[in-house]
């Protein structure tokens, strides 16, 4: 590579342009998800890495100070690790029905192209959960019970929730604000084959006014609508309350032009089979995070800061603070041409 090209790549102009582009990407990208900032920011940061590599060969000051050099190298490492983390990571979400196992095929979200998919070996069964609310609908502690495979046929239970995630195989499952009710229904067709499904109703109490959903009966094109009728409100806008499944809720089934209200265990006939409302369950929404490189990113950033502090401390020691207050010999202009004097040190 020619000397002048390296000098150009190492120039301040490249540094400032890259920083400017990074600012633009961050600001415009975060404004309404026009593009994924996390992916786009790789451009200016990749360019900054090239800029740094070039400057390593030309910039004498940078090479002379171990602190400054270490800081820059650590930042470049951090950028690479962050990119690697995004390519191998997973940031998803999933809804799990009470009494039902976690189903990896329902996970949605950002899955890195090189993510080592190991969710298929993640097994847990959602138990019940309790969420306390303070007056004014302020959500407090979430305690979500999950059952894990134990020795032999036994299982053991664990309480997770809020900032105490369930971690399996590097996947961190955090309870989220998203949770609700899920009526369990069974459709038995004319041939006697039964299909059971849990219909997840919209998040509660966020969507308390829309506790309904469409359900297409498996194996048919027949769609029914269900609505959870709650005679008494579960939540209390004024006082403290706890998320629970209501005792007296009934399931409204709207199908074939008729509206029918079912208690748990009741069955209605539809053309082609019977629909039975088994019981009311709940569902918990989890956010899932997989970032195995985090410890190394943290180590990198700690080293970066130590190097920077070292460099700055050395700078401060060169003249005392009092000395800094007194006039120092004028330096303006002496290094104004520093960049043009691009020294390619072999």
């Amino acid at each position: 590579m020619s000397h002048s090209l390296i000098c150009k790549l190492a120039s301040l102009r490249v540094t400032l342009t890259c920083i400017g582009v990074a600012v633009a990407v961050a600001l415009f990208g975060s404004d309404g998800d026009t593009w994924p900032v996390g992916a786009m920011i790789a451009l200016p940061f990749g360019a900054l890495c090239v800029n740094l590599l070039a400057a390593l060969t030309t910039n004498v000051t940078l090479r002379a100070s171990a602190g400054l050099l270490g800081f820059h190298l650590a930042l470049a490492t951090l950028a690479l690790l962050a990119a690697a983390d995004r390519l191998t990571g997973l940031a998803g979400h999933v809804e799990v029905t009470e009494g039902v196992g976690f189903d990896p095929s329902l996970v949605e979200g950002d899955i890195g192209p090189f993510h080592p998919w190991k969710l298929d070996s993640v097994r847990f069964v959602q138990g019940g959960f309790e969420i306390d609310y303070d007056p004014g609908m302020k959500r407090r502690d979430t305690v979500s019970k999950v059952y894990l495979p134990g020795d032999g046929q036994a299982s053991r239970s664990l309480d997770v929730g809020d900032d105490m995630p369930l971690v399996i195989g590097g996947y961190r499952f955090y309870t989220s604000f998203n949770k609700g009710f899920a009526p369990l229904v069974t459709f038995t067709d004319g041939a006697g084959a039964a299909h059971t499904g849990a219909i997840h109703l919209p998040s509660y109490p966020l969507n308390y006014f829309k506790q309904g959903n469409d359900w297409t009966i498996p194996g048919t094109r027949k769609a029914v609508k269900v609505w959870l009728h709650l005679p008494d409100e579960v939540y209390d806008e004024e006082g403290a309350w706890r998320f629970r499944k209501p005792d007296n809720a009934s399931l409204v089934v709207i199908a074939e032009g008729a509206r029918r209200e079912l208690r748990p265990g009741e069955t209605i006939s539809l053309s082609g089979g019977h629909l039975r409302y088994e019981e009311l369950r709940s569902w918990m929404g989890y956010t899932i995070a997989y970032n195995t490189l985090v410890p190394w990113m943290l180590a990198t950033v700690v080293i970066a800061i130590l190097c920077l502090a070292w460099h700055v401390a050395g700078k401060f020691q060169a003249t005392s603070w009092d000395g800094a207050v007194r006039a120092r010999p004028s330096q303006t202009g002496t290094d104004a041409n520093a960049e043009r004097r691009c020294a390619y040190v072999r």
Binding site: L12, T15, S30, D163, T287, N291, M297, A324, V325, R326
Partner: protein
């Protein structure tokens, strides 16, 4: 004993008085004894107000706009006081920096004071660490702003500030404060990321406050590179420092204000 609500107005009045005293002292070329005393008393009463509220609500002042603003008024004035006591020759910059800080004081008068409840994910040591580091960052930036304003006032011929060292020395000091601010801003970002990774499983999610804090960091980085390579004149450096402060200010007070709670998206 007054309730916490009563201590605050007293403190705010004292801050305003200190700023006024600083301006008058600078005009008369006097010593800043009175300003520093008023500042010390204001900080004491404000500490009482914050402690009482902390004790009553059982969480630190970092939940809503009122608390963020109040605690930053406290920490920024404290930073200015410490700076001037540690480097007595820059005391006269109180006349430039205190009036700037009164913007926050007046603003606080219009922010409603409500009892707040800390969200459940705020129960971690990383939150106070994150907040404290941020306050040190902003405190250092404010000291640099005070000195830069002096440089600009002299440059525009509006005042001489004879008691202060010459521009080049002020510029060097402002640069040092910015360097320290840069370290603490980096630390603040890291502590925030650790907290976020712990509480929500994401160390960085480009929420508006994160994005703006990152932009602030980049703007400081750009300034440091520009300064190291081009060695600009003090007046230009002063403009850069003010620019950084404006970005940092909108990050700290603009973004939480827009979304009513800091890191709204995450709660």
């Amino acid at each position: 004993m007054f309730a916490d609500g009563a201590w605050l107005p007293i403190s705010l009045a004292l801050y305003l008085a200190a700023a006024l005293a600083a301006a008058i002292t600078a005009a008369r070329n006097g010593t800043f004894q009175m300003t520093i005393m008023l500042l010390a008393v204001a900080l004491t009463t404000h500490s009482v107000a914050i402690s009482l509220r902390w004790h009553r609500l059982d969480h630190g002042p970092y939940v809503d706009m009122f608390e963020v603003l109040s605690s930053n008024i406290w920490s920024l004035h404290l930073a200015v006081l410490i700076g001037c006591l540690a480097i007595p020759r820059i005391k006269a910059s109180l006349a430039t920096v205190l009036p700037v800080l009164q913007v926050l004081v007046v603003w606080l008068l219009f922010v409603p004071e409500r009892d707040t409840l800390a969200p459940i994910t705020y129960g971690t040591v990383w939150l106070p660490v994150h907040v404290t580091l941020g306050k040190i960052f902003l405190g250092c930036a404010v000291l640099a702003v005070g000195l830069s304003l002096v440089v600009l006032v002299r440059h525009s011929g509006l005042g001489a500030f004879g008691a202060l060292p010459e521009n080049r020395a002020l510029d060097e000091l402002a640069y040092r404060f910015i360097l320290i601010a840069f370290i603490f801003e980096t630390l603040m970002l890291v502590a925030g990321a650790i907290w976020a990774q712990d509480a929500w499983g994401r160390y960085w999610a480009w929420d508006p406050l994160e994005t703006w804090a990152f932009v602030t960091w980049l703007s400081v980085a750009a300034y440091l590179h520009f300064r190291a390579m081009r060695r600009p004149a003090p007046a230009l450096n002063a403009v850069f420092v003010l620019g950084i402060f404006v970005v940092a200010f909108s990050t700290f007070f603009g973004m939480p204000f827009v979304s009513t709670a800091p890191h709204k998206g995450a709660i």
